[in-house]
Amino acid sequence: MLRKIAFLLFLLPSFSFSQETVKGIVVDENNEPFLGANVFWFGTSVGTTTDVNGAFSLAKSSETTFLVVSYIGYATQKVEVTSNEIKIVLKEVTNLQEVEVTKTKKSTEHSLFSVTNVQTMGQKELLKAACCNLSESFSTNPSIDVNFSDAVTGNRQIKMLGLTSPYILMTEENIPAVRGASQAYGLSFVPGTWVESIQITKGAGSVINGYESISGQINYEVLKPAIDIPFFLNAYGSTDSRYELNAHFNQKYSDKLSSTLFIHGNTRIGKNDMNNDGFLDNPIGKQVNILNRWQYTDAEKGWVSFLNLRYMNDEKQGGEVNFIPDLDKFTTNAWGSEVNTEKIEISNKTGYVFPDMPYQSFGFQNSFQSHKQESYFGLNQYNIHQKSYFSNLLFNSIISNTKNKFTTGLNFNYDVYDEQVALNFTKDFSRIDNSVGAFFEYTYDNLDNFSLVAGARVDNHNRLGTFITPRLHLRYNPWENAVIRASAGRGKRAANIFAENQQLFASSRQFSILNSDGKLYGLNPEIAWNYGLSFIQKFKFLGKETELILDYYQTDFQNQAVVDIDFSPQEVLFYNLDGKSFAKSFQAELNVELMMHLNLKTAYKYYDVQTQFITGQLERALQAKHRVFANIAYETHIKEKGQQWKFDFTYSWLGKQRLPDTSSNLPQYQLGEFAPSFAVMNAQITRTFSSKFEVYIGGENIGNYRQDNAIVQNENPFGTYFDSSMIYGPVFGQMYYAGLRFNIK
């Protein structure tokens, strides 16, 4: 008997360590439950939110017996937990004695404290742009230049620091997205309403995301199901007969699992030929784009996981107005082009944060993408099917304290290309690319005025060889509200010469690859070093909040897959760089808050982009040396029910641009040496009626500037001078649009 008691007494201390849970319910004075009320143990970050029944369940804390319960608009309560079940009643806050000080959040933030030169565009900024997909989201941002690549496909091309998009690493939530086969049109396959924010980083990106980034990185975040609203609808129509529809359906299954179904459809049914050159100004076509994402979050245990399933089908038809695909395809009756794309994607991101060590975590990203494009441009045919698999395993932790953080990991890439071109020659360029790599990145922050990120990675690629990629970013705050950033890094990439230069197919140019001993279409890998310096100063001028940003970046190519359209207007030559190729860019930006709610953004950019071509060292064609940008944004005070007016106006001036050499053409097909300077203006007015509903109208290219002679030899597109790729400005004139946004919160 005594032995039994002794045994029980031995077990006594172990009982006190068992986990007990507190279950409770949070309601208001009418016993209505709160969904999403915060319930936290006092003085800790351990807590949860209430479900649709106002219920919660929380493991007891060893540190305190007090719970803090809060919900916006209601008085926060601190209650002592004395049993395992509790009911908390929150009272509405009626007499706000404090003076409310609000600072309208900026739509684009330039951080003073991040190490990399990154600017974040929030949803507010994204809503200002005319439309509709990612390629059109940058018109109000001075750091990204947007232009049309050709007069046929209506595709917008973006440039950063003077270099075109293949040199920018584009990632979706840090998984490489627009690359390889999707390089040309990839941005137009991401609807703008799906995007939560965009981070634009100048200078070589982080080693964690890969070795390909040369001039910078654009990362976009997609809306997260756990914090999304139940329903969103957006409808859009424009005077050039383009219509779009977006619908989001969000479902929260539990406090841990939620999902959002994104559906997008767009179409252009009317044929426009405003400049009467016989060619459609923008392609007709349609797109259906569906994404379903699931999010699982268990904050207590430290798990977060996202699963994305995506399907997209896009059809575009451009070319002559009287072109009928069924009758005229592959004939010389009429010139036309069709680009049909189908994309499938399955991706997963899972992260685990050690519960008692919030600075230590694991991340595992996996993505499978299939991108299939079948297209023809007159008699030129181009088909590419890329299946790619990306996997990244990361581990984050600290060295002695959180001032010294590091991330390390492994990366695996596998790309299967099924590529056929039928131009002036027919060839199959199908191949498999794969690489394995390991990376290490160290971050130091002295929590005061200095931090640095130093990273390196080593990769083994079957075509690029084994190589090391170093990247360094420094940040220093010399005095209050000022920051100096410096960066340096190397990038290496495989140029997909056909996928990245598709606009050249819409011409009669003959293609040739001059080298044959390299592993990439006969060419060598592209290698470049990028260095940059940036200075930001925030200050008050005449009492107004002002921000001055100065940027200088230089990219030097050790090797480049040179695309030569100057050697002859009837040819396109691809060859390895033999000499210098560089891009120098300088940007000065001044942002001023002129008055409460009235903001002015101005910028001046200078570019010096030169390459050694066969015919000599030349400035890159179709690149303006000087650009001026101005944006003025005004919004009224938000009234009680959410009513607001927003006005936005953008002015872009481009200096003269060197045109590709057409001096050997017949006089009537010569373009001259320089394109004239010109300006483009966009404006948008939004009227918000409540937090549920808003309408907007706007205009693009209000000044109706059109490039004369956008298509050379448009009267005989099968002649030897035909070329629709020498585009320096807008091809269609002014365009007006209207839309509405409706949501249920």
Partner: protein, 114 residues
Amino acid sequence: MKKIMVLVLVSLFSLTAMAQEKKSKNKKVEFNVAGNCDMCKKRIEKAAYAVKGVKSAIWHIDHTDIHLIIDETKCSKEDVAKAIAAAGHDTALVKAEDVVYKKLHDCCFYERLE
């Protein structure tokens, strides 16, 4: 009989005593630290990080408390409080000396604790 009882009681105490004293390498600690502004935040956190064994130190201005993760085998929360007080900030455990407090920047003159 008596011997068995004594044995049981002693074992019981030592078991519980040992269980309570096991040192954690990632112990979460919070205590009040007085301060007014961003400069105070930097000073407080800098002082905390200077103590070997402090893995993470975040000071919150709204609750005027510091959230620490410390390696108990290397330091104790009293060590960290002493370091913060030496930098000029009153803590719930150790107060700053008047001399050091007076040397702080104007904006940092927080209300002294007690």
